[in-house]
């Protein structure tokens, strides 16, 4: 099985640790991983701003880079959701459709395709799990509190395999952090207030780390934590799952 690793632009540029952890974790689990060097971005920042018509270049590039793989995996629920919902190509729609069916967010790839049941990871800390909306409500990584349906959570299933990790409860299990792409600047006041409230929920419950499957939300919360001078850190779930047990 060969997996194409898709690293979204902002992870490539700001959070290489997340990308490295994703790569190493997949390799540890016996997967052959290839990182196509010519990748840039899924096009979501433009599409969510109303400029989906400008994403043709990104789409074609994505198809060039990834159509040959068995699976495409990325440590970002939001980007994967965008590809799943909006990757199209005038000349190569067939390939686009295939890609839409073989892209996976990291945690769902681990639970649903690799069917991981144990991990050799340890992280002896109090951790709060942020459910990023696009992963949760879009990709259905976890059950949603609005629905009357049986609970499940793919990220949680994995975190439970990590030795020493203590998961803290939250008052609001799946409230949005307010990042929202360009929303974070276009609606600065509300975006920040949402982030402040989300962070406060984690802090009140004693989190030392806030983790999640989407670095963009974590980046937003990190910005708030740092401004508050907090010692609490954000860490992508890949880095926790990849942390070695000693």
């Amino acid at each position: 099985m060969t997996v194409g690793l898709f690293i979204p632009c902002y992870i490539d540029q700001f959070y290489p640790g997340t990308a490295i952890a994703t790569l190493q974790l997949l390799e540890k689990l016996g997967v052959t991983v290839v990182y196509p060097p010519k990748q840039t971005c899924c096009g979501q920042p433009m599409a969510n701003s109303g400029y989906e018509h400008l994403t043709t270049g990104c789409n074609e590039l994505f198809i060039d880079n990834f159509s040959d793989f068995d699976y495409i995996v990325s440590p970002s629920g939001s980007c994967i959701l965008h590809i799943k919902d909006h990757l199209h190509s005038e000349g190569r729609e067939n390939e686009a459709v295939q890609i839409r069916h073989k892209v996976y967010e990291l945690t769902e790839f681990l639970t649903d395709i690799l069917k991981v049941e144990q991990l050799d990871a340890a992280f002896p800390h109090k951790v709060g799990l942020h459910q990023s909306c696009h992963g949760q409500r879009g990709l259905k990584l976890s059950q949603m509190t609005e629905l009357v349906a049986a609970p499940f959570s793919k990220p949680l299933q994995l975190l439970n395999m990590v030795k020493g990790l203590e998961l803290i409860p939250l008052s609001r299990q799946d409230e949005c952090c307010g990042f929202g792409g360009t929303f974070c600047v276009a609606e600065e006041a509300v975006s920040v207030k949402m982030g402040v409230d989300r962070v406060a929920d984690h802090l009140e419950h004693g989190a030392e780390f806030i983790t999640g499957a989407d670095m963009s939300c974590l980046m937003h919360m990190e910005g708030i934590l740092k401004r508050q001078g907090s010692r609490v850190k954000v860490l992508h779930i890949a880095e926790i799952l990849n942390s070695s047990a000693q």
Binding site: I7, C9, Y10, I11, D12, Q13, F14, Y15, P16, A19, L23, Y35, P37, T40, C41, G43, P45, M46, A47, N48, S49, G50, Y51, E52, H53, L54, T55, G57, C58, L61, C133, H134, R137, M144, E146, L147, V148, R172, D174, C176, G178, G180, G181, T182, F183, C184, V185, E187, E188, A189, V190, S191, V192, K193, M194, D197, E222, G223, I224, K226
Partner: protein, 460 residues
């Protein structure tokens, strides 16, 4: 975002956020209602099936709307109700005014109707010398405050009880400083009782209009629609064309969904059926289009007409809870308002579909399963293509497109100062980076993943 000079959502929300304590209070109050809703719906194992059923009934109704409307009209007429058709808000207001004039009166009592808010009926009638008293307590409060409602189910949810006490002191003569809800409610009750007894004409909204029987159902918790209608000589009911349901038996589905979604109650206190005027009474129904048939013709947005105005999407919306209903500058606020309003005036409401993180919670609570957040996304595309966006934003997006479409330029841009920071998503439409106002920037690492990969795995 909007090219008009009126204030947009972001600006109004910014003002609302100047008082953080108030934002917290607003957020917590509405979240409490969302929790009551959760509790109520979790008592029904068939909840998701109910939602699906309601959605399908509405879908069928919308697909056969003209037939059901005609069936409803014929049955209502046979029951002795006069049916009027209004193409838009103006016609609606003129029809209502015409009925009032015909009876030679200059005042009317009105129960809650979001349609009349949408049509700005109160302003129109006031300009024409007709006094309107809103009889829903929340509506009466915002009416006294000369404000529009901020929520479709809880019109004065933005007001604290002390502020209501001040309003009642000024307008209804309660002692200064009294804010005990019981005292205020009793005062309102006495005040409204006099209104109910003296107004000859009562206007109500319509929650459901049953095609099969020609009857309509009005849901209130205060019984104020009933008080007004039963004591009146003339009952006018205003309804949008989408309020039609085919059969009476379908009410069982909608009445179970409506108030559980709205407030967590199993059913509204009063779900009153009006079928024919009592002897000596006149009953009118005004059926209003006002843009609805245009929306029905928009493939991506027609589903929005399924809305039963429960307000659940507002209560759950993390943006609404922290920006307040007035920031949507439209009669219907929140997520549903944001997908209805652009249909009425795309330029004026160009900002609303952007007042969302697309988190999707609204679509999940919606009892008729409207794909609200997907429609917000789709409206963004429509609005940008129609040109209701700023030149700066378009320029920024084009720059981003250019950078991201070419791996060479992208990686060069990354080296030259972290491309993401330059174009996406922070600095797109702002000269001064609003990210930094209340948030620190991520620290650029020594090397990007791409650099690391080349170094560590390059020879593979």
């Amino acid at each position: 975002m909007s090219t008009t000079s009126t204030k947009d959502h972001a600006e109004l929300a910014g003002q609302f956020n100047a008082d953080e304590k108030r934002v917290d209070w607003h957020d917590e109050t509405l979240w409490w209602i969302r929790q009551k809703r959760d509790k109520a719906v979790n008592q029904l194992p068939e909840w998701e099936l109910l939602r699906e059923t309601a959605s399908k009934i509405k879908e069928h109704g919308l697909s056969n709307l003209s037939n059901y409307l005609e069936e409803f009209e014929a049955n209502a007429q046979a029951n002795g109700i006069t049916v009027h058709w209004a193409a838009d808000a103006k016609e609606h207001n003129e029809i209502v005014h015409g009925i009032i004039k015909k009876h030679g009166v200059n005042r009317m009592v009105k129960s809650k109707s979001m349609l009349t808010e949408e049509c700005h009926l109160n302003e129109y009638l006031t300009e024409n010398g007709i006094e309107v008293v809103d009889s829903d307590l929340g509506e009466r409060i915002v009416q006294l405050a000369k404000e529009p409602p901020s929520h479709i189910v809880l019109p004065c949810i933005h007001k604290k009880k002390e502020e209501i006490g001040d309003l009642f002191h000024e307008h209804l003569g309660t002692p200064a400083g009294v804010s005990d809800p019981q005292v205020l409610t009793e005062t309102a009750r006495q005040h409204l009782r006099e209104v109910f007894l003296t107004r000859k004409i009562a206007l109500t909204g319509v929650n459901f209009a049953v095609a099969e029987t020609g009857e309509f159902v009005v849901c209130t918790n205060e019984g104020n629609a009933d008080m007004g209608a039963h004591l009146s000589e003339v009952h006018i009911a205003s309804m949008g064309i989408e309020k039609i349901i085919p059969k009476r038996e379908h009410l069982g589905v909608f009445l179970r969904l409506l108030t559980r979604s709205a407030t967590g109650q199993p059913i509204t206190t009063y779900s009153s059926h009006y079928k024919k005027p009592r002897p000596g009474q006149e009953m009118h129904i005004v059926i209003v289009d006002n843009g609805r048939s245009v929306q029905l013709g928009r493939k991506d947005f027609r589903n929005s007409l399924k809305c039963i105005r429960c307000g659940a999407c507002m209560n759950t919306c993390p943006v609404y809870r922290r920006s307040g209903g007035h920031s949507y500058h439209n009669a219907v606020s929140g997520p549903i308002g944001s997908i209805l309003a652009p249909n009425l005036d795309m330029e004026k409401y160009a900002d609303l579909p952007f007042a969302s993180t697309l988190c999707g919670s609204c679509s999940n609570v919606c009892p008729v399963k409207i794909d609200i957040h997907d429609q917000l996304y789709k409206w963004r595309q429509v609005i940008v293509k129609a040109g209701y966006t700023t030149k700066a934003k378009t320029a920024g997006m084009k720059m981003m497109q250019w950078t991201l479409s070419s791996p060479g330029i992208y990686h060069a841009a990354g080296k030259a100062g972290r491309m993401v920071m330059k174009y996406a998503p922070f600095a797109v439409n702002n000269a001064l980076n609003p990210w930094y106002k209340q948030r620190d920037m991520p620290k650029p690492p020594v090397e990007s993943f791409d650099d690391w990969y080349k170094k560590n795995r390059g020879n593979k």
